[in-house]
Amino acid sequence: MPRRSQSLELFAPPPLVTPSVEPLAARSRPQLWLAVCLPSLALECLSIPRGPRPAVVVDSQQGQPFVVAANRAAADAGIAFGCKLGTATALAASLQVFERAPRLELASLESLARWALGLTSLVNVEPAEGVLLEVAGSLKLFGTLEAIKAKLCHELARRGLGFCMCVAPTPTAAVWLARAASADALRRHELAGRLGALPLGVTRWPPEVQELLKCLGMRTIGDCARLPRDGFARRVGSAYLLELDRAFGRRVELRAEYRAPSAWSARVELFDESVDSALFMEAVEQLLDELIAELRKQQAQIDRLEIAFEHLHRPPTIESFVLLEPTHERERLLHLIGDRLQRSVLPVPAVALRVRSDALLPLALRESDLFEAKPHDELVRVLFERLRERFGTEAVYGLSAVAEHRPERAWAKSFELTARQMRGERQLSQNQARPLWLLTEPIALPSIAARRAALRLCSGPERIESGWWDEHDVGRDYYTAKNALGQSLWVFRDHRTRGWFLHGFFG
């Protein structure tokens, strides 16, 4: 006997710690969660046309395929959630069977969550279930809870989704109440009574756990809640005890906030393949409106955009736009895209357009004069972008002076047109005259004899020897010269080649 107890001790499970109820810290504002459950999401996200034919969506991932969602005709025939596929086909003769698409479901939930960000800032997506909104903070803006619910109902009806909605102080309780399609529980002290009456099925705990609880005689959540805590934890599992605590509000529950993705993309198909740029502009305007709405909601702006023209049997043609400064303005983007579309010609007709923006940057607001019609900076920016768009980024630049002895390097192009820094300039003394026009490459003058006839040297020489530290070593004597045509030239004589060159004009 002692040996057996010893062996039992060797393999004994670790000692169980029953989670205790932690006293809730006083919160600044009590939360109110609105749960939207979409029971037939699997069916609705597939966009099956409504009709008298029964249709089911099956999930064949874990073992035998079973029915996840059924439309009205199928439900009338007696097919319910959890039915095996064979049973379903036997019950309804002309059954349409669709495979479940979790990605489409998630995409549709995320799209709803993105819309719901317009109602509240804390939205949580429950995969394959629905969406949770924290609405206590939005009550002041919208007035009453009914207003928020009405907006939500309207949007869900517009999207063609069947739903059940419920409000509760904790998210888990809201979800359970919504699954049971019961009324709102607005106050915490109501929770115990309301949750207690719900059947155990709404928790969607695994079948073996629900079976165990049924064997113990538990039918409702209230029954489970009345059980002793350590016994429940030991027999069923401490995770479920924690879930019950969270539902009743005894434990803090945090839900992951849904954040809209930082890239945006939308696609529109044209009725017929075409090369007409007017048609493209219309399609682009439509997509841009969506983009601008999204940017406004997220308080973001973009600085690059891509338009892909999709063709049949060919890889898509992509037009990229890079903006000087991030923007969220519709006119600027439209002008930019319009200019490019007018000038570009597609090789093959396009069947669809996709507009994509990679990075959504946070909006940086600029202060502007209240009484100015349109800020001056904005006009300048729009103009620069149009010019760069048409002629290339290298073709539009500003000037800056560089502290350098070599004349061809004493200036530089400046592409930072909005924030310009001086790169240091040497103060030229008054007798160091510089020409207003400089040639990019010095031109060799004809032979000395011809030079003497045509040019008359006026002043000089000014010796410039510099650049021994890099390969562009110069040793030159600069003179100013005049010729018979009235031109004033800046010529130099190179030390190494002993040749005469023209480097600039005194314009």
Partner: protein, 216 residues
């Protein structure tokens, strides 16, 4: 009738009120000659030159200095140079007192249509104080449109054109032909709205100071 009535009723030809804005040229001989006392703003000024280096930029330096060194709080403070034939040399511009941060160089693609498009865009934007453009060929229609745009936005527009084009008709309000002999710049005013054609001579236009001894 009273003398005051006479004054208001009689139109006096030369002293007709020129309400157009002007930029002082900085050369008092030219200022005295031009109506308003400077370069007219809001119309096109055409400058014809045979070759570069005869002082065409030096003629504009005082005006450019005045325009670029205005109060930074005012909008419209930059000057666009469209298709300059050579590099405008920054140290030399600074020597003449111009703030080079206010200059913008634009090199349109080859083809005079894109050049004229660029000029029109800059003028129409209403955000630049002045435009200097080098235009080899332009027809009357386009020039008229540019002039209307310049008048609309109040932009100081200068077009440099080859001297061979000075015989063509043009709607520009001021057309001058510039040559230089020795140190004296000769400004021949071919057409001047509100004034008479004539010749103005400017002593020592744009030559650097220095001794004029010939070097062997």
């Amino acid at each position: 009738m009273e003398w005051d009535d006479w004054q208001t009723r009689v139109w006096r030809g030369k002293a007709a009120a020129i309400s157009r804005a002007v930029v002082p040229t900085g050369f008092h001989e030219l200022d005295r000659y031009l109506p308003g006392g400077g370069w007219p703003v809001g119309v096109i000024t055409e400058i014809f030159v045979d070759d570069y280096g005869v002082g065409e930029l030096a003629l504009l330096m005082p005006a450019l200095k005045a325009l670029t060194t205005t109060d930074p709080a005012k909008p419209r403070k930059w000057i666009a140079w469209i298709a300059p034939p050579f590099v405008p040399y920054a140290p030399a511009l600074q020597q003449h007192g111009i703030d080079i941060e206010r200059l913008l160089m634009i090199h349109p693609t080859a083809g005079h249509k894109s050049r004229l498009w660029a000029i029109e865009q800059v003028v129409r934007s209403g955000s630049s104080a002045g435009v200097l453009a080098w235009v080899p060929a332009a027809d009357e229609v386009i020039l008229r449109r540019l002039q209307l745009a310049a008048e609309d936005q109040g932009c100081w527009t200068l077009l440099f054109r080859p001297a061979s084009a000075r015989r063509q008709r043009s709607p520009a309000a001021l057309r001058i032909y510039l040559t230089r002999a020795e140190a004296v710049g000769r400004v021949e005013i071919i057409k001047c709205r509100g004034g008479r054609p004539g010749v103005v001579e400017i002593a020592s236009l744009g030559l650097p100071s220095g001794d004029s001894s010939a070097v062997a």
